[in-house]
Every structure is written in structure tokens, then in C-alpha cells.
Symmetry: C2
Subunit: 283 residues, 2 copies
DNA sequence: CGTTACCTTGATATCGTTCAAGTACCGTGG
DNA sequence: CCACGGTACTTGAACGATATCAAGGTAACG
């Protein structure tokens, strides 16, 4: 009904994959595991749980850029945990048109639905270099049985996926290009902050404008122009040199422009008497 | 990158809600429960499981058209089971722009994520008259514990939701209007067939063109023109009289046009030695 | 130090939107 | 049985957001 009626500093931050001399991916130096980071924000874990969590991330496999690790229609072959680097979940039409469903960041699971399904209904591939651990469905199920609190957290992760997809659908379907781009940037920034990979006013941005276009149902040229608009408006700036990053100059204005409310990203966690994360005063 | 580069008969079928003399919703006459229908297609249920399933659907509440039963940001207040009628899950921007995330048909659950979350991140409201049973989270959890096979099936329902959302995202982001509309019609037709509410070449279509537009990121006028195109092309026809329906004149051509593969709608079910539903020979 | 991938920008094309008016139909009440 | 009012559908005309095409620039990588 109502359409998208157009109305109208510092340099902290580290990339998920800091490269050694020749470009092998490693975990960010001095940063604890992203998964641990996320879980600890939601739950005061016990020593045993900590060990179990570490076990999940053992044997990370380094992956090259543009490596497809899950194929639409093929069996999953286990559940992944991202230790470093970015991946993306996408679907592609026979003629090559592609839609990015979601981005997969450090600390995220890949294919939690393998617990329920046999075959994937999407592709997953790396953006740049990445490190991914892979666990069998059996192993995850055993962990679920043994550590129900961790299982509860992981189930929250799965619902979060859903919430992000809903929000993306809203962006693609109803937000204008500038709203959608701003919203995506803010979402990524927040998610990276959760796992200690973004700074107060800067975050790594390894995505190609092409990929952003495929996530938002736009074309790369228009994403370019839209980013320029944001830059010219003094909302953001770019650090073009590796690690390529985005500098947020005016977070408030950006949030207002995007209509971004971080509520959908907030998990409630678990704990005796622990209240759901209170609604942010700032949107 | 690649953009959306464009490129009669019997009258079976019954509406999800057959109206009595004055319009109260009832279950389709002579049709067994939609939920039972879905589950039995995936699992040979025992007598006990059958009883449990029936229990889930007791005390259905009749709802008037356009009744909002879940509010974005508010607590869920339980889990719903649709006995009859259509509902829709949507998100709305402050200025009124709306995106329909998915349609909720008879036999579907509403807010299975209430098992994990406290508050909704979307609205749910009825399309026309509907009948919905509501169960507490505790009751569902008890059922999950007692009937693990049913729990497994319901978890598959949840993943199916996800698969449908991915497909919708692809439609909104990358398919042309005519592809997207065709795809949506085919999806609804298939889903209705699963629960015995659609015929071989006809299915009820209570959705307003406005609602279709909000599901596909289009405007109602364009949906109208697109439907006309499909009609003029001899692919579909309309039954304007209640129950309003769509007649599929050339399913093959429609599928080809939409690039529709039903695989994403096929659940694997459970059962000893039961193979995943084989990939459809047709596409 | 060349090659490639990505970004940038202009010109032009188009799909889809908006606005606006009119029509068909259903349910209601006399 | 018919008049009425509302909702949804229909259609035309004009506009606009975004796509496509094309060319050049710049920085990373080997």
C-alpha cells in the first residue's frame, strides 16, 4: 500500500581476519573467541560450559576468499562455527541473479538447521579469508543434551537469524535505497560490536558494493551512489586501505535516517532473575 | 550484480473458512484438521500422538477479519495454531509502509519462536474470519518432552518458515514482478494442497491485491496489472465470487515463468528408513 | 609492474509508483 | 426487491527511483 515514498575519527576497530605476512587468516590477536564473547554476554558460563564451547571451535579450517562451503540442494555435512572472517548465505537464480539472505560473522553458526534438515536451501560462501570449525550434527546434539543452557542460547541465535531476515525483508521490500543501506551498515556495526570486532565509531567493511547490492535487491552502481550520498552528507566516511573500513561520523543521524532500532538484535540470554535486555533508550 | 532482467475447468477447492448463514468461521466441512493433515503426511502417528495433536487444537477462538493478535514488540502470550482462515505476519514502518513476512495458513503455528523469545518482532493479524487455538509455552514444552516425534515435526515446520522467508527475500529482491507474483501464487497453492484446501487447478485466494503488494514489495496497482498479464496470457483466471479463488489454467507455464521449484516446501518427515521426499521430477 | 578487481561517474532506459477517476461487487437496511 | 455505502478492483497518464550501459580511475595482488 504505502510505498517507499522518499521523504527525505578515531581509528580503532579490527578486521575479523588479520593477515600474517602472506595472508593466512588467523584469529584477531589478543581477542578472545567471538563465540565465547557472544555467549558470555548472555550467560554467566561455568567452567565446564567454557570447555564445551572451546571444544566447539577446535580444528578451525582456514578458507580462501570466495570459497563455497554449502551448496543449495546438497547435504549440509555438519554445522559450522565461524572463528574469523565473513561469510554470506545466499540464493541464486538460474540466470545468475543472486540474493544475499544474511551475512555470517565471527561467532555465528552456519546451518544450525542441519539439526532438522538434510539438505541446504541456500549457498554459503566466504567473503575474504575465513576460519571455520565444523562439527557433526551428532556432536551438537550431544552438546545440547549435556549443556541445556548453551542449547538455549544457541536456539536464541537461531531465532535471531529469523529476526534479521525479517528486518532484511523489510529493507528490501519497503525501505528506500538510502534507508536500506544505512540500516544494513548499522546492523553490521552492531553485530560486530557484540563480538568485539568493531570500534566506537568504525568497523571493518570487507563487503564489495556488489555484495551489498545483492543483499538489498539493488544494483552495485546505485549502492555506490547511495554510499556517496551518505558520505557527502557527512554521515559516514571510508577507509579504503586494508583493512577496508567504514567510519561513522554521525551515528545519531544515520540511525534516524535508517529508522534503525537495535531491539531486534538484542537477545534475552538466560540467568536466574535476569531480565530481558532493556529496550535501548536510544532507539 | 545481475538484476531482474525481465525477460479452465472444474470448480473444486474450498475456502479455509466456509461461512455459515451469517459469517461465523467454521472448519471446512468434512475436512479433517489441517494440522493433522500436515503431520500425517510426514509421520505415521500413534493413537497417543493423535490425541495430543487434537488437544493442541481444542478451544479454537473465532476471530474477525483484520484482527491483530500479535503486536511487534509486545509479549507473545502463547503459541497459536491456525484451525481455519488465513493470517499474515508483517512488519510496519512508522510511516505506514508495511512488509508482509509470510502468510499463516490452516495447520500452521503462530509464534513458535515464543519458545525461545519473550517478545514478538512482527505483527500477526487475520485476513478474513479465522479460528485460532492458543496454547501456553509450558504446554508446548510439555508436549515436546512427551512426544519427541511430534517435536521433531514441529521443528521442521520452523525451518520451513525459514526456507519460505529466504525464498520470499529472493522474490522481493531479485525476481521481476511477474515472476514474484507467479511464484507467490504457486507457493500458496502448494501449501493449501498440503492441507487439503486446494484443488487440482484451483485454490481460494482471500488476499487483497494490496496485501500481495505488501508481501512482494510492490504497489497494489502494479500487482493488479501483473495479475492481468497472467490472466491475458492464459495462465490463470479469477473466480471473483465468494469464495474468491484463482483458477490455474496452465500450471506448467506458470511454474516455468516463476522459476518455481517446490523443493523448499518439502519436509522430510520422520520414520524408520523413510527417505527424504525425492526431488520432484517436475523441476 | 602489469593485471585484475573494484570503485566511480555520466548518460540513458525502464520498471514500478503515484495520482486520479471510474467500475464492480458485497453486505446492509429499508 | 431495491437503494445505499464501502471496499476492492481496474485503467490511464505522468513521474520517479533505480537499472543498464559504458568508460575511466585506482588500488591490491601476484
Amino acid at each position: 500500500m504505502l510505498q517507499r515514498s522518499p521523504k527525505r575519527r578515531s581509528a580503532e576497530g579490527q578486521s575479523g581476519v588479520s593477515r600474517g605476512g602472506s595472508g593466512e587468516p588467523t584469529q584477531p590477536r589478543g581477542t578472545r573467541s567471538a563465540l565465547l564473547c557472544r555467549v558470555q554476554a548472555l550467560l554467566a558460563i561455568s567452567g565446564e560450559e567454557r570447555v564445551a564451547l572451546d571444544g566447539l571451535e577446535r580444528d578451525g579450517t582456514p578458507l580462501l576468499p570466495q570459497t563455497k562451503i554449502i551448496n543449495d540442494g546438497a547435504p549440509y555435512g555438519g554445522i559450522g562455527i565461524v572463528k574469523a572472517g565473513w561469510l554470506l548465505r545466499s540464493k541464486t537464480l538460474p540466470d545468475g541473479r543472486r540474493q544475499v539472505i544474511n551475512f555470517v560473522l565471527p561467532g555465528d553458526f552456519i546451518c544450525l538447521d542441519a539439526l532438522t534438515f538434510d539438505c541446504a536451501y541456500y549457498d554459503v560462501c566466504t567473503v575474504g579469508h575465513a576460519v571455520v570449525s565444523r562439527r557433526s550434527v551428532d556432536e551438537i546434539e550431544k552438546l545440547y543434551a549435556e549443556y541445556p543452557r548453551l542449547a538455549a542460547i544457541f536456539k536464541q541465535f537461531a531465532v535471531l537469524e529469523d529476526a534479521m531476515m525479517s528486518e532484511r525483508l523489510l529493507s528490501v521490500g519497503r525501505r528506500t535505497a538510502i534507508e536500506a543501506v544505512s540500516h544494513l551498515l548499522l546492523e553490521l556495526w552492531h553485530r560486530l560490536k557484540f563480538v568485539g570486532l568493531a570500534g566506537e565509531s568504525m568497523f571493518p567493511m570487507p563487503l564489495t558494493q556488489d555484495v551489498i547490492a545483492d543483499a538489498l535487491g539493488l544494483c552495485a552502481v546505485h549502492v555506490n551512489r547511495t554510499l556517496k550520498l551518505l558520505q557527502n552528507g557527512g554521515l559516514i566516511n571510508f577507509e579504503h586501505h586494508k583493512p577496508r573500513s567504514i567510519i561513522v561520523l554521525d551515528a545519531q543521524r544515520l540511525q534516524r535516517l535508517a529508522g534503525f532500532k537495535s531491539r531486534y538484535l538484542q537477545l534475552k540470554g538466560i540467568g536466574v532473575g535476569q531480565e530481558p535486555t532493556p529496550l535501548q533508550a536510544s532507539n
